[in-house]
Symmetry: C2
Subunit: 200 residues, 2 copies
DNA sequence: GTTGACATATTACAGCTGACCGGTAAAAGC
DNA sequence: GCTTTTACCGGTCAGCTGTAATATGTCAAC
């Protein structure tokens, strides 16, 4: 057996370097050489782990999605059992908004993902499936909330799901400093409280 | 006097060519040469109207914002006088979402604008000011709606404004085909109806 | 018809890009 | 010790980039 290196770990290291480049200089600057330098590797080394630049970028994007899911899972673990759907949704939304460093990093990767998906068939399929999956999760939570009586049945689950996901539209406002993170949180809570009834 | 050319019109022609490139191939492909070809010009000709690529891109983005404002103005002109704030806001939101070809084009430019703004000081200032200005307009409408009794005074105008603008977060869902344009409209109307009271 | 001002086109150049390839080092099995 | 496999390096190549310099075209005024 030859020299052994944990492939996945190396790829994740490179992916994190790519995140930093994207966050600081933009996806356009995320060339193989730039990412290699950021990761402290030669560009040949990076090519050993990713045959093409696209492969590297796609991996970094999927990895960012996975990390977001992880952060959500951590946040949910701190809730009651069973958690109130409002709290569940709040954790998901907060981790999707660029309110903390980790979330900001993955949020920017996500934005670049979507933009790239608009004119690349492969990435489009991946992004679409990922987004559709996330939307299904939310809709399931909403439907369960109706079943459990947390939500009055005159709400259309599909529409309410779309409105909840639309809250990620606060991202540009926060990123450009038009509103403060606290105001974004206030807006999220206002929406959730209005949805579930201000009292409970 | 030499041969005269309408500079502004030429620049707008080039900007529209850039829009097409961005929509079909992405902002990364919007090089001086590519845009020139799309516009049916030599890349030297484009250079005559825009000294640098950045100048061209910034102009095209500002032009896209202006066109969106124009479409909103047209839409508003078809409303009653004075228009109901709900209808006013609906027109603005509909023109910001990628629901029709024109709006989709400018929406994609807008997305690229924001992403570029995150790591370019000049563009950041421009994008931020533009967004802040748009937000001010919406907040003014919300405050006027409270004054005019269309909105109960227990609404916080700033938060409601942020929630209205957040509806642009439906964009990725529509662009990636996760939801249909009609569903986005339903969501917008649902939010507006809930805000202004379902009856009126 | 010459001049001047501007529009447009051509060409050149330096820099960066992604992809590719040959070479080397190291580690493990035989 | 030899071979095999994996890890990594550094160079090279063609292609595209933005931009500058330069040349040509075009039209109006004089």
């Amino acid at each position: 057996m030859p020299k052994q290196v944990d492939h996945r770990e190396r790829r994740e290291t490179i992916a994190r370097a790519l995140w930093r480049v994207v966050e600081e200089r933009g996806i356009a600057q995320a060339s193989v050489r730039e990412v290699a330098q950021e990761a402290g590797l030669s560009h040949g080394a990076v090519q050993h782990y990713f045959a093409t630049r696209e492969e590297m970028v796609v991996f970094a994007m999927d990895f960012a999605s996975a990390q977001t899911s992880l952060r959500v899972a951590e946040g949910v673990s701190g809730l009651g059992d069973p958690p109130h759907p409002r709290d569940l949704l709040r954790v998901m939304l907060v981790e999707m908004l660029p309110l903390r460093p980790d979330a900001r990093t993955t949020s920017r990767m996500s934005a670049a993902y979507v933009l790239e998906a608009l004119h690349d068939a492969n990435i489009r399929t991946r992004a679409r499936d990922g987004l559709a999956h996330g939307r299904d999760l939310v809709e399931r939570i909403v439907r369960q909330a109706v079943t459990d009586g947390h939500l009055s049945p005159d709400h259309d689950p599909a529409t309410e799901t779309n409105l909840l996901l639309a809250l990620t539209g606060l991202t540009p406002l926060v990123e450009l400093g038009v509103i403060e993170p606290q105001e974004a949180l206030t807006a999220v809570d206002q929406h959730l409280n209005r949805l579930f009834g201000k009292g409970t």
